[in-house]
């Protein structure tokens, strides 16, 4: 980031934000929507990303609201993860966010930043994919909604040029049911996930959301297990093996093994009435 030329603006409405983005881009400047800034500042400092104009989304009312109305959770993308944990009374939601970065960073890291930034883990997406959340986007054409599952089909949140995430909506009902969650890092409590597995069962329907294993978060409906949990898990884990991520934090084989182990044990526990 070229500190002395860097411009920081704080629009007061979603339309204003989208308009500024368009203007600055038209002027040939690299603009970025700014949530907590935790990722952007780190990338800019190490020269991995250049941002000439930062557009702060945290002063826009629609992005900083979190409320339950009409049985639907509306989660503002400009709120920090800890604020969202405090205001959204869903154990599944709270748990899934709990290991992202660390607690102090979560005091600034926003939902929008986690979902739309460059880091591929996007763990806040896991409960949202499970809940079939709707993403509310805002761009030069105004507001639009799209199912998050569709937007994240290919992994990264597919936004139109100049669009930003305004918030997500998910029915409270969708987050009911029982769940098991397992998260593994290479070592220690703080770190990127090798495997972040969330298994849910609701009204007999089984779902899985998975972070860390593939380059981007994955979500699937699952056939319910019967008695042979290892085989059930093995079959699930065999799909898409070629794409499993491997790096110095954890090899492909290890991630697969952790996923399999967690899925087997988690599936059995949920089947037998456990979970939260």
């Amino acid at each position: 980031m070229r500190s002395r030329d860097f411009i920081f603006v704080q629009p007061r409405s979603a339309d204003e934000a989208a308009a500024v983005f368009q203007e600055e881009t038209a002027r040939g400047r690299s603009a970025a929507y700014w949530g907590g800034g935790t990722e952007l500042l780190s990338l800019a400092r190490t020269g991995k990303q250049t941002v000439q104009v930062g557009i702060d989304l945290k002063k826009i009312p629609e992005l900083t609201a979190a409320e339950l109305s009409g049985g639907v959770w509306r989660l503002g993308a400009g709120l920090s993860l800890t604020a969202l944990q405090d205001r959204v009374d869903s154990p599944l939601w709270r748990d899934c966010l709990d290991d992202i970065a660390d607690h102090t960073v979560r005091n600034r890291l926003t939902l929008g930043g986690n979902l739309c930034g460059r880091l591929p883990y996007r763990e806040a997406a896991l409960p949202l994919l499970l809940g079939d959340a709707a993403a509310v986007l805002h761009g030069p054409e105004g507001e639009r909604r799209a199912p998050l599952r569709k937007l994240m089909e290919k992994g990264r949140l597919r936004l139109e040029p100049g669009e930003f995430l305004q918030g997500c909506e998910v029915t409270r009902e969708a987050w009911e049911g029982r769940y098991i969650r397992r998260r593994f890092t290479g070592a220690g409590p703080v770190g990127y996930p090798l495997v972040h597995l969330v298994l849910t069962v609701k009204d007999g329907a089984w779902q899985m959301a998975l972070g860390g294993v593939f380059p981007t978060p994955a979500w699937r409906n699952l056939a319910p297990p019967k008695a042979d949990f290892p085989s059930w898990a093995e079959e699930i884990v065999s799909v898409g093996n070629e794409d499993i991520r491997g790096d110095f934090r954890g090899s492909r084989e290890y991630r697969r093994a952790l996923w399999l182990q967690a899925l087997t044990a988690g599936g059995e526990a949920l089947f037998k009435g456990g979970g939260r």
Partner: protein, 155 residues
């Protein structure tokens, strides 16, 4: 719409005082506090959000000041370690000798103070969740754990 561009004069509320600070929009709060205002309590351990040595409070909430722009902190109550003299957290760390080189200490005290003033009677897990935002290379954390317990018990 507020726009920050070029050298900017900010009024920052720090430790109960209104201080004038000259910053560029791209300057982090950490740099503004240290280089601009001479408040060298928060430290530059990594400037990447990993070590916690830069931790300050923004409206009572612990944040890593290396990952916040100074201009974003305008209008907020900023508390650095310098503003926590005499608090139970600071006293407990001193009495337990919960430091060696001292570089990580300010961050720990700031976060401990925030934890104990916003969560009533946190358990071990909750304390670890807050404080594993911090690294210490010297102590092995044992004395820091004792200091947190001691601060919890303080009236």
């Amino acid at each position: 719409m507020k726009k920050f561009h070029g050298l900017t004069e900010l009024r920052l509320q720090v430790n109960g005082e209104s201080l004038r600070s000259s910053v560029y929009p791209g300057d982090t709060l950490l740099r503004a506090l240290r280089d601009g205002l001479g408040l060298t309590g928060p430290k530059t351990g990594c400037e990447n959000g990993d070590c916690g040595a830069c931790t300050v409070l923004l409206d009572g909430i612990p944040v890593k000041s290396c990952l916040i722009l100074a201009v974003e902190a305008e209008g907020a109550e900023i508390t650095t370690i310098e503003g926590l003299r005499g608090t139970p957290a600071a006293a407990a760390f001193r009495e337990e000798g919960a430091f060696q080189c001292g570089y990580c200490t300010a961050g720990f005290i700031v976060n401990t103070h925030a934890l104990l003033t916003s969560v009533s009677d946190p358990g071990e897990d909750e304390i670890a969740r807050w404080l594993n935002s911090h690294l210490c290379r010297c102590t092995g954390y044992e004395s820091i754990q004792r200091a947190v317990k001691r601060a919890q018990k303080a009236p």
